[in-house]
């Protein structure tokens, strides 16, 4: 697996992490970083190199003050995968492969940033066989890619365990990538988002273009629900195609509203192909 290098993206936190692990992110831990925290009396931080004479002249009563800094720290990046049966769907792209690509890119990027990475996967149970504890060892991204490709997505499974995955997340605020097709019940989605509301959740929405955009132009088709086994008859024509597209657009808006409501970041929609550059832009600019 040495030749395979996952795509790399960059992320930035809008909050200060807590933790002693040295890393690239701003933390609340005082230390020797470059982030200026404030002036403190000399005796609180007796470091003559940080002595600020101009500030010392301004304080009353007169005394020596020194500049204090925050430490740069590391966080744990979690990838929370929805491996319900609907993720077996393969249209113009195979969702499972996409899942593996994205997860290994997250693992790769986070370890390159000095953060630890941990993998959680849920269907109706938390999938312990796919669990990877927080770690920043080398070669993990490639291992995870292989692991997800080899993993079995069982039939007739929902994603009911998603809210319970919080039990395996450390209490410190972390960056959580929630990767799913978001074909979830409203209640399940709101429970998931609220249970993870203490963390910085980045929803990644995997939709295939053949789900709503790249439909046959005309003809009668029957579709079977992967998860619940229901069936629907569709006589595809221009009006129905517009309705389907409209329904997905509405879902998009609904997801955005919902994520905003629960304090998650704006969802990032991935269609057919994962482009790390776009994700970087989304993470650095849009949210």
């Amino acid at each position: 697996m040495s030749g395979f290098i996952p795509q790399e993206f960059y992320y930035h936190l809008h909050w200060r992490a807590r933790g002693a692990q040295p890393g690239a992110h701003a933390t609340r831990t005082p230390g020797n970083g470059a982030d200026f925290a404030g002036h403190v009396p000399f005796m609180d931080n007796p470091d003559p190199r940080r002595l600020d004479l101009r500030a010392s002249m301004r304080v009353i009563p007169r005394r020596y003050v020194v500049r204090s800094f925050y430490e740069r720290g590391a966080i744990v990046v979690y990838a929370l995968l929805d491996v319900s049966t609907s993720m077996r769907f393969a249209g113009n792209a195979e969702k499972k492969r996409l899942l593996a690509d994205i997860t290994s890119a997250i693992a790769w990027s986070s370890t390159r940033h000095g953060d630890s990475f941990s993998l959680l996967a849920c269907d109706d149970q938390v999938r312990q066989d796919l669990f990877v504890a927080p770690s920043h060892r080398r070669g993990m991204a490639q291992d995870i890619h292989k692991k997800i490709l080899g993993a079995e997505i069982y039939t007739q499974r929902g994603a009911l365990a998603l809210p319970r995955a919080i039990e395996q997340v450390r209490p410190n605020r972390s960056l959580v990538f929630l990767i799913s097709d978001f074909h979830l019940d409203e209640s399940l989605l709101s429970r998931t988002l609220s249970s993870f509301s203490a963390h910085d959740v980045v929803p990644l929405v995997l939709w295939d273009s053949s789900e709503y955009r790249d439909l046959p132009d005309w003809g009668w088709a029957r579709v079977r629900d992967l998860e619940h086994g229901g069936e629907r008859s569709l006589f595809l024509r221009r009006r129905l195609k517009q309705e389907i597209e409209q329904s997905y657009l509405e879902r998009k808006l609904e997801l955005k509203t919902m994520c905003r409501k629960y304090g998650a970041r704006t969802p990032f929609f991935i269609e057919d192909e994962f482009d790390a550059g776009l994700l970087t832009r989304h993470l650095l600019e849009a949210s």
Partner: protein
């Protein structure tokens, strides 16, 4: 409803095939057909037209199976027993065409307008055929051997044409027995829906041996046919009224035949005609005699309804095929 069906005479020819109709549940219940997997149909709108198309698809399949099962079981309607009163009779005309028929009648006072017996018989029979409306007629001519010219039926034109054909003139001998035998044969297997009569028009007799006599008697009894003999007496022919001397019996085959017919035990009338007028009178008499009404039941032809169900099945299958043609084969934009 069932009473109405019974009155309409509806029924099934082979109801066992109806068991196949149970197969109509297959298209209604089975869900084995091809469907594209989709992550979440909740996202798809419920489309009225598509839902009805699905229902049409299922019901067309069920209906075509039901229609086929019914069609296989052979439905019909309209079989009814209709009571009919038959006024007509079944008459086989047995016409003698032997050479002697070309002679004129016994009672010929004016020799110049003497009409051959055949011509008279033809004329009178023609008018008889044209008058009789409800009769079934048939005709056999005989001379040396019998010839069937028109089988027993309602086709008057055929009989008239046969009569016209006798203008060719007679020839040969008088084989009465074979002519009668053939005529009686044509009653065989026909329903008895009217009085049966054999109208024998001849001018002379023939010797019948004992075997033939027995055979004919047996046939007459079996067919229960009356016999009317119009005897056209020739100028030198003997009258049937006065019995000949015992020693001369063999010289008068007519009288022997008459005696045999009397001994048959069936309804028998003889009309001795010496002139064309007498023939006409005899025929008028006969046409009155035979008009005894007969009540009988007749089954009207039933109408086969299978084609209708086959048509329904065909239409349903055509609808299924049309739906199949509109089916999406690949889940891709073209």
């Amino acid at each position: 409803m069932s009473e109405f069906l019974q009155n309409a005479g509806a029924g099934l020819y082979a109801p066992g095939w109806l068991a196949l109709a149970i197969l109509c549940l297959v298209p209604l219940l089975v869900r084995g057909h091809h469907a594209f997997p989709y992550p979440a149909i909740v996202r798809l709108p419920e489309d009225e037209l598509s839902v009805w198309l699905e229902r049409l698809w299922r019901w067309a399949g069920a209906l075509s199976i039901i229609a086929l099962a019914i069609a296989l079981s052979g439905p019909y309607w309209g079989e009814q027993q209709i009571e009919k009163v038959g006024r007509g009779a079944h008459i086989m005309i047995v016409l003698d065409r032997s050479a002697s028929m070309n002679d004129s009648f016994a009672d010929t006072r004016e020799k110049n307008d003497a009409e051959p017996k055949m011509a008279t018989a033809r004329r009178v029979l023609q008018s008889f055929v044209q008058q009789s409306r409800e009769d079934l007629l048939g005709m056999v001519t005989f001379s040396t051997s019998p010839i069937l010219v028109a089988p027993l039926g309602g086709d008057r034109e055929a009989v008239l044409a046969a009569l016209r054909a006798t203008e060719a003139g007679g020839m040969g001998f008088t084989a009465v027995a074979r002519g009668l035998g053939m005529a009686l044969d044509y009653f065989e297997g026909k329903p008895v829906t009217g009085a049966r009569a054999i109208l024998l028009v001849s001018d002379g007799g023939a010797h019948l041996d004992v075997k033939t006599q027995d055979l004919l008697r047996e046939m007459f009894h079996r067919q229960n046919a009356s016999l009317y003999w119009v005897y056209l007496r020739s100028a030198n022919g003997a009258s049937l009224k006065d019995a000949p001397e015992d020693e001369n019996r063999d010289a008068y085959p007519e009288y022997q035949l008459h005696e045999y017919f009397q001994s048959l035990g069936v309804n028998y009338h003889v009309y001795e005609a010496e002139s064309p007028q007498a023939v006409e009178e005899a025929i008028t008499d006969i046409s009155k005699l035979k008009n005894q009404p007969v009540k009988y039941y007749e089954a009207t032809a039933r109408q086969d309804l299978a084609w209708m169900f086959y048509l329904i099945a065909l239409l349903c299958t055509a609808a299924l095929f049309a739906l199949h043609l509109t089916e999406v084969k690949r889940w891709r934009a073209v």
